[in-house]
């Protein structure tokens, strides 16, 4: 150090100012793009607002109306079906495919077809599957050609079947990427304990239950957590396949939010549904992750 020296206190203060200045852009971006919209949406949810003029404060009226509306409850039920369906089918099938193929010679060729579908956007998946599932569409024609029952089913018209077949279409797309993630997890498991277990006679279900499954836990937590959040905000594929109909029979919470805000221009009610959905997603994700990542948690 040469020349004039700076007192430690003064130097600390100047570093702090520098640090704050460097942090300012990031803070602004987060504040303007993330916090501000959330706060604004929360405020609007307590108002009646058509996007023009000034919002009118109505207190909890939007929330009361929301929970009194049977269509909202249908939407809630459908969203729960999506959560359960998404976690059991694409995640479950992905795990099955991964476990069966991860140490198989040429296993990649078995997994590849499942992965290709991930390159397709959910809207395109919805459009293609709506051709397959519409009355007299591809599926009905195939069932009829083979003399199988179900050709007369109105797959996309009757509830809750329409939601269930859409979960099937979603599984068609999502299974591959889940399988890929599980394979990465399985391949990162140390070989030694597995070899030891195999030498001790563990194989098949026992090997999976007592060795693979516990060692996959960190990755399973991530995959299920992502599926949980994705399923709670299901929108695009339903919009492309049924637009939430017929009537409002296949609507999810995200579609209800869209319908209120952008179709009815009832931004207050739309914001109330959005806030409800955000809080549910937040609580579900936090509760799940806390439980799974807690060191005391036992499988």
């Amino acid at each position: 150090m040469t020349g004039t020296s700076v007192a430690p206190r003064e130097r600390g203060a100047s570093y702090q100012w520098s640090a704050r200045a460097f942090g300012l852009p990031a803070v602004l971006v987060v504040a303007v793009l993330l916090y501000l919209p959330f706060v604004w949406t929360s405020v609007i949810s307590f108002t009646e607002y058509n996007g023009l003029g000034s919002p009118e404060w109505v207190g909890l009226a939007n929330y009361r109306e929301m929970f009194d509306d049977p269509n909202f409850l249908t939407s809630l039920r459908n969203t729960l079906l999506w959560v359960v369906g998404t976690i059991t089918i694409p995640v479950g099938l992905g795990l099955l495919i991964a476990v069966m193929t991860y140490d198989m010679r040429f296993g990649v060729w078995f997994r590849l077809p499942f992965l290709i579908t991930y390159a397709v956007s959910p809207v395109a998946v919805g459009v293609v599957w709506s051709f397959v599932l519409q009355n007299g569409g591809g599926l009905s024609q195939v069932l009829e050609a083979f003399g199988l029952p179900g050709a007369e089913n109105r797959w996309l018209l009757d509830e809750p079947m329409n939601t269930l077949v859409m979960i099937g279409a979603w599984a068609w797309q999502q299974t591959g990427v889940n399988a890929l993630l599980f394979v990465i997890g399985l391949q990162s498991i140390p070989k030694e304990p597995l070899e030891a277990a195999k030498m001790d006679g563990a194989a098949g279900w026992r090997l999976f239950r007592h060795m693979l499954w516990p060692m996959l836990r960190p990755l399973t937590t991530v995959v299920v957590g992502l599926a949980l959040v994705a399923s709670l905000k299901t929108f695009d594929i339903v919009m492309a396949m049924t637009e939430g109909g017929p009537g409002r029979s296949s609507e999810t919470l995200a579609l209800t939010m869209y319908r209120e805000a952008f179709v009815n221009s009832a931004y207050g009610m739309g914001s109330a549904v959005a806030l409800f959905l955000s809080v549910v997603t937040f609580i579900a994700a936090i509760t799940y992750l806390r439980r799974q990542l807690s060191p005391r948690h036992e499988w």
Partner: protein, 431 residues
């Protein structure tokens, strides 16, 4: 010395970086005052920013724009949205910015009332009076653009709702154009007996069409009263109409409401024999190589109740509006005035392959031209399409309920009660 210099340098750089980012964010939030005509708007005084949710109609709008360039020295700077909900949100938001649209398409009824209530739309009362005086628009049309005694916007288009049919299917089953409701029912019965589906129906968006036809054709006063909140969806007259609709389903009159094949293709393929649709279907039928008068034709839907003096005829019109604080407000109003003239309407209607609200417009399609004349005679009562006549929240609920009803035709009461609940909530808010 070096350390000191370095500290100052870091502090300076960080401050500049912070200020630059703040400026960027503020610039993004604020308007751009230097760009006189707006980045998304017109490029020069002779060009007006024009927004619409009818993106597919761009070639037709641009044809009119070419004519207006010669006539007025004004062209349209076209921005089309293909998603109506996105468009509606965009226009509503645009009024909060400095880029208010010179011209934009909108909806009559409650959607227009929302804008007028906030003083966002330029009045067009003088333009209407002049156009009516010059015979460019029927005076009856004015009431649909009137709010509190003033007119707002001008009609973009006009369409009548009629029954299109596949001429080959009619000839095959020896069916003539029905002139009474009984003849229409007899034709449908004949087609069903021959294994041919008579009518098109859909559960997406246009699920209201047959409700509109049956109610307007049975009791036009009740139809109008329902739109204005003076009647209830659970009134006996409405319930009777729904039951008639259900009976028609039970007789197998309607095609699959879940079939997403386009209506023009369904008519061309003979999947259905008839389509109850707006006259803009002519353009869509022409686009699949069907020839008017040869492959397809249409007739005015006979009144359901034979005791009515006039035959109810559903028409629709959508407005072109000017923002009150638009940058080129006066030029835009000049354009709106020109839009109603014979010159503009002849170009527009023929480009679209549709009728025009201007009776002087020269329509090339003979069938449409004769409909344009016939609709103006005393035998017909023009009723506004259900879609525009019904306030948006009630309409949204009704479209959902009709969609559910046509998919699973059954007891209409739960559907009607749901719509009525929405209607009561809406009309009580209106005071």
């Amino acid at each position: 010395m070096h350390t000191r210099w370095f500290q100052v340098r870091i502090r300076y750089s960080a401050t500049v970086a912070g200020l630059a980012a703040s400026a960027l964010v503020l610039a993004a939030c604020g308007g751009d005052d230097e760009d006189e005509y707006g980045s998304g708007g017109a490029e020069a005084p002779g060009s007006l920013s024009f927004y619409t949710d009818k993106a597919a109609w761009e070639p037709q709008f641009l044809q009119v724009s070419d004519v207006s360039e010669n006539a007025l020295g004004l062209t349209l700077d076209f921005t089309g949205y293909s998603e109506a909900d996105q468009y509606s949100a965009f226009i509503r938001q645009s009024f909060r910015t400095d880029e208010k649209p010179d011209l934009f398409t909108w909806h009559t009824g409650s959607e227009l009332e929302d804008l007028v209530a906030e003083g966002l739309v330029a009045p067009t009362t003088d333009i209407w009076q002049q156009s009516i005086d010059e015979g460019n628009v029927p005076g009856d049309l004015r009431e649909h653009f009137t709010i509190d005694g003033e007119q707002y916007c001008v009609p973009m288009n006009a369409a009548y709702w009629v029954m299109y049919y596949n001429t080959k299917v009619f000839a095959e089953h020896d069916i003539k154009e029905p002139t009474t409701w009984d003849e229409l029912v007899a034709a449908a019965d004949k087609l069903v007996a021959a294994g041919q589906t008579p009518f098109y129906e859909t559960n997406i968006l246009f699920s209201f069409v047959w409700f509109q036809t049956l109610l307007a054709g049975t009791d036009p006063e009740l139809y109008a009263a329902l739109s204005s909140g003076e009647a209830s969806y659970t009134d006996a007259g409405v319930v009777d109409v729904m039951n008639r609709w259900r009976e028609m389903h039970e007789k197998g009159y309607f095609g699959d409401p879940g079939d997403q094949t386009e209506p023009q293709v369904q008519l061309k393929n003979g999947t259905v024999a008839m389509i109850n649709f707006g006259t803009f279907l002519s353009g869509q039928l022409n686009s699949v190589d069907m020839v008017s008068g040869t492959d397809y034709d249409f007739f005015i839907i006979p009144k359901v109740n034979p005791d009515l003096e006039q035959t109810p005829l559903i028409f629709e019109t959508g407005p072109i509006c000017t923002a009150e604080e638009a940058q080129n407000r006066d030029l835009a109003l000049q354009y709106a005035s020109w839009w109603m003239t014979e010159e503009a309407q002849t170009t527009w209607a023929n480009a679209r392959g549709d009728v025009s609200f201007n009776p002087k417009a020269l329509i090339n399609d003979e069938q449409l031209a004769s409909l344009n004349q016939e609709a103006g005679t005393d035998g017909y009562q023009l009723l506004e399409r259900y879609f525009e006549a019904t306030p948006t929240p009630v309409l949204t609920a009704a479209l959902d309920e009709f969609s559910a009803f046509v998919t699973n035709p059954g007891d209409p009461m739960p559907h009607l009660e749901t719509i009525q609940a929405e209607a009561e909530a809406y009309w009580s808010d209106q005071g």
